[in-house]
């Protein structure tokens, strides 16, 4: 199962993280989920700095990005990624509680690949995660240099 796409999950809420991972697992989509707690960690990971300076594995197939986080917020992470020659190819899906218009506008302006509002209803939430994970981690052809697409098992 090592060939399954790697998902980078950035969310400051451990509960959300747990719920997302639970949902992914339920649908067998989470072979490898890297979970980070804020934007600063995410940037270190993606740019292989700090704690992740020695990281050698390929970039994730998709980044599930929360917006409202301490230190560096999701918009800033998105901005830096989309301004980097390599990282701009990595698909970013914003998964947030907010439907705020300004967030939508900023995200799309920066070139976000998808924008998903986390529903309050858990079943809808699970359904959303399943669809997002299924599409981006399975169906979508990731850019070259990222985790190889999953082979059929």
């Amino acid at each position: 199962m090592s060939s399954l796409a790697r998902i980078l999950l950035v969310d400051d809420s451990p509960r959300d993280t747990e719920l997302v991972i639970d949902a992914l697992q339920e649908h067998h989509l989470a072979n490898e989920v890297v979970s980070l707690r804020d934007g600063a960690e995410a940037l270190d990971y993606l740019f292989r700095r700090g704690a992740f300076a020695s990281r050698t594995d390929p970039q994730p197939s998709v980044v599930l990005l929360d917006l409202k986080m301490p230190k560096v917020d999701g918009i800033e992470v998105l901005r830096q990624m989309k301004h980097d020659a390599q990282l701009k190819r990595v698909p970013v899906v914003v998964m947030t509680s907010s439907r705020e218009e300004q967030d939508l506008i900023k995200s799309y302006d920066l070139g976000v690949n998808a924008y998903v509002v986390k529903p309050v209803n858990f079943h809808q939430f699970v359904d959303a995660v399943k669809q997002v994970g299924g599409f981006w981690a399975v169906l979508n052809e990731p850019p070259p240099g990222s985790t190889p697409r999953p082979t059929t098992d």
Binding site: D22, R99, E101, F122, F125
Partner: protein, 628 residues
């Protein structure tokens, strides 16, 4: 004219007229008398001379007859005797008798020298006058026509002269008497002419010197002088009336000038001196009329403005004479500087080029204007300040609702999520009661999520920037009806929708309005079968339109109508009709931001009608009041 020449004293005028009249009368009398006397005297002279000549001829004939014999007989003595008889005639100064040959035969008086007599006889004829004497030659004839000689007589004229002298004396006496009588009568008669003239002159004198037009010349005579007097009096009456009118008009104008509440004056354009000032000017500037009369206009001007006056081109103005309003600085007697608005008009004043000036003290007004400007600036500052505060508050509100949006929803999701996970992991181990409790927890979290969503929407509708465009209400309403119908499957609903006019506003916001109203109509009529929902509009004046959404549902009691549009206000229990109580508050907020009004009419178990006014798209745009 009379007033420019020095007037003649009345007494002298009187003397002159009297003298002249008397002189005329006297001269006329004397001339007539003199002519008469000359005529009489001439006649007398001629008559006297004729009479003398006649007498001399007659005498000559008598003497000649008496001398016939003496000549016939050549008797000198007789002849001498006949001639000597002439002694009786004192007038005869000389006589001579010539013979047939013309030689002197005898002469009288005997001692007369023969040289004093004509040497030979002259022509026979009537007597003639020569050298102060009358002379005549008379033939001496015998029988029928034998000429014997010639008689010569010469008479003295002394008698005649004496007679004429007496006559002349009488004439002179008569003339002197006549002149005296003429003078006396003239003196008396001239009064009838001179007195009315003098009365006229006196009246004219009073009029011209005392400008008293009330006097009248006495009318004592008749004829032309009476006419003259009447005409003069009539003229005086006319002048008096015109003077009265003129002075009344002048008084009115003077009153206008004098009683003007604004300071006014006239000044000489050449000397800059004040020619007239009104009472307001003296009060306003603190100078007396006497002061003003010695002042020039420059003395009340503040120096820098005097220069401006001189630079000003003369006669510059929209119309001849009338000059534009300008603001000057003037100095009052006490040194106070005032701002005055000057309106002026050029005119001729007593024959001098002058300017009528009307000065309006606007110092207080300018101060007030300045104060208003200052207050305005202050107000603008305050508005800026408030706007900044408002913007800050708005920003805070924005970040607040942003936080709510993110942070309040997450825990609810977690509640739901973990309840769900619990349900799954503990499946089979939970009692029905526990599962019911878990369901309530989950439902409560759901409700709160909805509440937060609605609140955020409500808040967003207040803060969101509004766009103003043409909104096709028809299309918008149909979209919402379709959406609502899709959500209300299995229900029998009759839609009665009449065409709506396009409105002006923000399409997204108005979509929210109709989504809420149509959603409500459907929700509260779900116990009806069929449910009847009507949507229509009525035109209002001033470019507005009223749109209504009517249902035949549960309705509500009108006494609670006031609470209808408040946030979280509900007129039904949520177990009866679910809802958060924010939908109508959002509707009201959006309509208010469009400058419209929203209200409802309802009756319990009959239905409710919601009305809202919007501006029609073809109506002129008006800035709507932003409410948050």
């Amino acid at each position: 004219m009379a007033q420019t020449n020095s007037p003649m004293p009345k007494s002298r005028l009187g003397r002159t007229i009297r003298r002249r009249l008397i002189a005329v009368i006297l001269l006329t009398s004397v001339a007539v008398l003199a002519l008469t006397c000359v005529a009489l005297f001439s006649y007398e002279l001629i008559t006297a001379r004729r009479s003398v000549a006649q007498d001399l001829s007659t005498l000559a004939k008598i003497i000649a007859t008496n001398s016939t014999a003496a000549l016939a007989f050549d008797n000198r003595a007789d002849a001498q005797e006949v001639l000597a008889a002439l002694k009786a005639e004192p007038d005869i100064v000389a006589a001579a008798l010539y013979d047939q040959d013309g030689k002197l035969f005898a002469h009288f008086p005997a001692n007369l020298a023969s040289e004093e007599l004509p040497a030979t006889p002259g022509a026979i004829g009537t007597a003639y006058f020569s050298q102060g004497h009358a002379r005549t030659f008379q033939p001496v004839v015998q029988g029928k026509n034998v000429r014997l000689g010639t008689l010569f007589l010469m008479a003295d004229m002394a008698k005649l002269k004496e007679r004429l002298r007496v006559y002349a004396l009488a004439i002179i006496l008569v003339m002197a008497f006549a002149v005296a009588v003429a003078y006396v009568m003239g003196r008396a008669l001239q009064r009838s002419i001179s007195e009315p003239i003098l009365a006229l002159a006196e009246t004219a004198d009073v009029v011209s010197h005392h400008h008293d037009y009330t006097v009248r010349a006495p009318a004592r005579t008749f004829g032309e002088l009476r006419q003259l007097t009447d005409a003069f009096n009539h003229m005086l009456t006319r002048i008096q009336e015109q003077t009265r009118l003129l002075s009344a008009s002048e008084a009115r104008h003077r009153l206008l000038f004098e009683s003007s509440p604004l300071p006014m004056w006239v000044y000489d354009l050449e000397t800059q001196r004040f020619l007239a000032v009104n009472a307001a000017a003296t009060q306003s500037y603190g100078y007396s009329r006497e002061d003003f009369s010695h002042m020039t206009i420059e003395q009340i001007r503040v120096s820098e403005h005097v220069v401006a006056l001189r630079d000003e081109p003369d006669g510059a103005g929209p119309s001849a004479g009338m000059r534009s309003v300008r603001v000057w600085k003037h100095r009052k007697q006490d040194g106070t500087i005032i701002d005055v608005e000057i309106t002026s008009h050029d005119l001729a004043f007593d024959g001098r080029p002058g300017r009528l000036v009307l000065a309006n003290d606007i110092t207080a007004r300018l101060a007030a204007e300045q104060e208003i400007r200052r207050l305005n600036e202050h107000l603008e500052d305050r508005i800026r300040e408030r706007t900044a505060q408002w913007e800050l508050a708005n920003k805070e509100l924005e970040s607040f609702s942003y936080s709510i949006s993110h942070d309040l929803r997450a825990p609810l999701r977690h509640v739901q999520g973990y309840v769900s996970m619990l349900n799954r992991s503990a499946e089979g181990q939970l009692s029905d009661k526990s599962r019911r409790h878990l369901k309530i927890i989950s439902d409560a979290a759901m409700e709160m999520g909805q509440l937060i969503d609605d609140l955020l929407e409500f808040s967003r509708m207040g803060r969101k920037e509004m766009t103003s465009g043409v909104v096709a209400l028809d299309q918008l309403v149909h979209e919402q009806v379709e959406r609502a119908t899709a959500a209300a499957t299995g229900r029998e609903v009759i839609w009665k929708i009449t065409p709506l006019p396009p409105a002006r506003g923000d399409a997204a916001m108005l979509r929210q309005v109709f989504a809420n109203l149509i959603g409500n109509a459907l929700k509260y009529s779900r116990q009806r079968s069929p449910a009847v929902i009507e949507i229509g509009s009525t035109d209002e004046p001033n470019g507005m339109v009223t749109v209504f959404v009517r249902d035949n549902g549960a309705g509500f009691d009108m006494k609670f109508a006031g609470k209808l549009f408040g946030v979280f206000q509900r007129l039904h229990h949520s177990d009866q009709f679910e809802g958060t109580g924010i939908g109508l508050a959002t509707v009201q907020r959006i309509v208010a931001r469009h400058g419209g009004r929203v209200w409802a009419e309802a009756a319990v178990d009959v239905g409710a009608t919601f009305f809202l006014t919007l501006r029609k798209a073809n109506a002129p745009t008006i800035e709507t009041t932003e409410t948050t």
